[in-house]
């Protein structure tokens, strides 16, 4: 009995000390100017931006992170406040969105195509809140929901075109995450672009085996990249979150990285997010996630946002330090292709 009282006593003392000493509710999820919080989002002058990630974290060096950076930047620019929730279970999407709607947030960014249905339902239930669905194609228009979609195949096509022109061995490779639509679009676009640039080229396409960690297996990605390199591929496209990052890092270690061997990143300019890959990273097939999210959040702020789909930009990242490895001729041709894809004169021909 005495022991239990002692145990209870110590615990209660600890908790009381904790309660007294730490008065702050410093939150990692906020990341904003000190004066702002979400205590009064309903007020007209306070602009609150919420973000619900897909399964994963905001520091995943991939699309969750890009979307958050865009939302955060936009909120800061207009003097608003931004907060995120990291989803741990696909069944929690609706509940996570509700955290924000309960506090009358002005706009909620929902990241990832898996959340499409939940976003539509939440938008219909909360007509006064604006929703931005990243990677969520709107088949049917809902007035307060804007789908931010990207033609991934175009980004892949441009990257493939560059690779097709740049390759000396006529062998290209791609190390991919799970076989799901966005990844398939990138991969098929890559192959289409490469063959358009160079009819004799051979593109190896390998997806990660179905598993819960398809986008978080850098060990497999690295090993697969190594295998493709030793079989003659001299430019490899890494498209699959952490798995792709592993491939990029491995290729950067290869002899000739940056001169005869190159790697291509995905989603954002991975020059900054995966610095280990810089030795080989000639470009990245980018989806303008951050810019698109930021633009739409600002559109909510100034009232110009519309329902339906908003097509974001795709493009190729800067060549950075490897610009000298890409001849002016090739750079010009690729720029032409990018422009052509943008204005619609060039079609990728990719279907799922």
């Amino acid at each position: 009995m005495k022991r239990m009282r002692t145990l209870a006593g110590i615990s209660i003392l600890a908790l009381v000390l904790a309660a007294c000493s730490s008065g702050s509710t410093d939150t990692a999820a906020e990341d904003t100017a000190a004066a702002l919080d979400d205590s009064n989002c309903a007020a007209a002058e306070s602009f609150c931006v919420g973000l619900v990630t897909d399964i994963g974290k905001v520091d995943d060096k991939s699309f969750n992170q890009s979307a958050w950076e865009g939302a955060k930047a936009a909120a800061a620019e207009v003097g608003g406040f931004a907060k995120y929730i990291e989803t741990t279970d696909t069944k929690d999407y609706a509940a996570n969105m509700k955290q924000f709607t309960d506090k009358s947030y002005d706009v909620i960014v929902t990241v990832g195509f898996l959340m499409a249905e939940a976003s539509v339902a939440a938008a219909k239930e909360n007509p006064n809140t604006k929703f931005i669905g990243v990677d969520q194609f709107q088949g049917e228009e809902v007035a307060n929901l804007t789908g931010l979609i990207f033609p991934e195949d175009q980004a892949g096509y441009a990257a493939g075109y560059l690779a097709g022109l740049l390759t000396k061995t006529n062998k290209l490779g791609s190390v991919l995450g799970l076989e799901i639509p966005p990844v398939q679009l990138f991969a098929k676009g890559f192959e289409a672009g490469a063959t358009a640039a160079n009819a004799g080229v051979k593109v190896t396409t390998v997806y990660h085996p179905p598993a819960d960690n398809g986008f978080g297996d850098p060990v497999w990605g690295a090993a697969e990249a190594k295998k493709q390199l030793s079989q003659g591929a001299d430019i490899i496209f890494g498209a699959g979150g952490g798995t792709g990052n592993g491939a990029l890092i491995e290729i950067a270690k290869a002899e000739g990285a940056g001169t005869s061997i190159f790697c291509i990143g995905v989603d954002t300019d991975q020059w900054g997010t995966v610095p280990e890959a810089q030795p080989c990273l000639v470009t990245s097939a980018m989806k303008g996630l951050s810019e698109g999210t930021a633009d739409l959040v600002k559109a909510v702020f100034d009232g110009s946002i519309k329902g339906g789909n908003f097509v974001g930009t795709t493009g190729l990242a800067d060549y950075h330090d490897l610009a000298s490895a890409v001849s002016a001729d090739i750079q010009a041709k690729v720029a032409e292709i990018v422009a052509g894809l943008k204005d619609g004169s060039i079609k990728t021909g990719v279907t799922l």
Binding site: A29, E86, T87, N96, I180
Partner: protein, 363 residues
């Protein structure tokens, strides 16, 4: 011995006699204190953090529904592993069994038509149970007749299930006119409804739990199970057919996991999508171990895990603490429930020795 000593003894006696309840409660308490320290290190008041979890999980009607929804498959997954443990089998394959059943019941809910609601639900649930049982049965038969250790066969079967299901929802059973890998929604008649905040599936899980407990503790079959689990030599000597026990044990275990998957599909997700049921099988192992292979105890264990998971989003929203803290809390609880340290500290000599829950590893 003075009079006051005897009084102390009597008070202590109550707790000593009910150690199996006191120790887990104390374990949870200590785990929360230790977790509180971790939270404190992040600059957050632990009481605020815990309040965020519980007010969302228990005191918000949507949150309460979610708590029940999360608890339900956990109870069944926990029962699946528990039944396995009781007969001396370590069923790591609950995940594969669960997801196979989830797809099977989704398909039954979509493609079997013209049935009345109650009947449709029953048929779909049964499909799930059967598929789950078969998937586990494969491991059971391999063990009984070819001597293949169930740990290795169930690990293999988990991966095989993921691969096959991934293919099935990408091609033959994919919902048309959209690009996601998933099935169509199940028919209205196959839906397991909620009664207020309580999913029907939860009530089903409770009933099954009571049935399993009764079976294991009060029937001859259950007696045979327990004997096999405790001492294989004694069981063989007593004339129990070991092969039959192994296969039956796995079938039962898989069927329970399958029921969990089926209820998830029919009552919570209404379709099958690969990412939906992630992690449930492994959680089932944690639940079964927290419950020390006692079927009735899987309910409070599942409620604990379900509560923490349901409250996790609110935790991050209110305080910025990352959801992983929940796993650390659970691990500490599991450790303290299972290691004799807490019991010895509280009860000194009178601590009950915690028997091995998993006696089956040694084949």
């Amino acid at each position: 011995m003075t009079l006051t000593d005897t009084k102390q003894e009597n008070k202590l006696g109550f707790f000593v006699r009910n150690q199996t309840i006191v120790v887990p409660i104390a374990a949870i308490f200590v785990a929360f204190v230790l977790g509180g320290i971790l939270i404190l290190l992040q600059g957050v008041n632990p009481l605020v953090a815990y309040k965020a979890i519980f007010s969302e999980a228990w005191f918000d009607s949507d949150g309460l529904l979610r708590t029940f929804q999360k608890t339900t498959p956990l109870v069944l997954a926990g029962l699946a592993v528990t039944v396995g443990l009781r007969v001396g089998l370590f069923n790591i394959g609950a995940q594969g069994q669960l997801i196979s059943a989830a797809l099977a019941s989704a398909l039954a809910g979509i493609y079997i038509t013209n049935l009345s609601p109650i009947f449709h639900v029953l048929v779909a649930l049964t499909c799930g149970i059967i598929v789950g049982a078969i998937w586990a049965g494969i491991a059971g038969i391999l063990k009984a007749y070819r001597g293949v250790h169930e740990v290795i066969s169930t690990i293999m079967l988990n991966s095989i299930a993921i691969g096959i299901l991934d293919y099935l929802v990408s091609n033959p059973f994919k919902e048309p006119d959209q690009s996601l890998q998933r099935t169509k929604k199940i028919a209205e008649t196959a839906v397991l409804p909620n009664i207020g905040v309580i999913p029907f599936g939860f009530i089903l899980a409770l009933i099954i739990c009571l049935l399993v407990s009764w079976m294991l503790n009060k029937t001859t079959a259950g007696f045979r199970f327990n004997t096999v689990g405790k001492n294989k030599f004694a069981a063989t000597y007593a004339g129990i057919n070991m092969k039959l026990m192994v296969v039956t044990g796995m079938l039962l275990s898989g069927g329970l996991a399958g029921l969990g998957g089926a209820i998830e599909t029919l009552g919570i997700t209404y379709r099958f999508e690969p990412a939906f049921n992630a992690g449930l099988g492994f959680d089932g192992i944690t639940i079964a171990l927290l419950a020390r292979a006692n079927p009735l105890a899987t309910i409070p264990a599942a409620i604990l895990v379900g509560t923490l998971r349901a409250g996790g989003a609110s935790l991050q929203f209110e305080t910025g603490i990352e959801p992983e803290i929940v796993d650390v809390l659970l691990a500490i609880t599991l450790l303290l429930v299972s290691a004799p340290i807490l019991a010895k500290y509280l009860f000194k000599g009178k601590a009950q020795k915690s028997a091995n829950v998993t006696s089956g590893w040694g084949n």
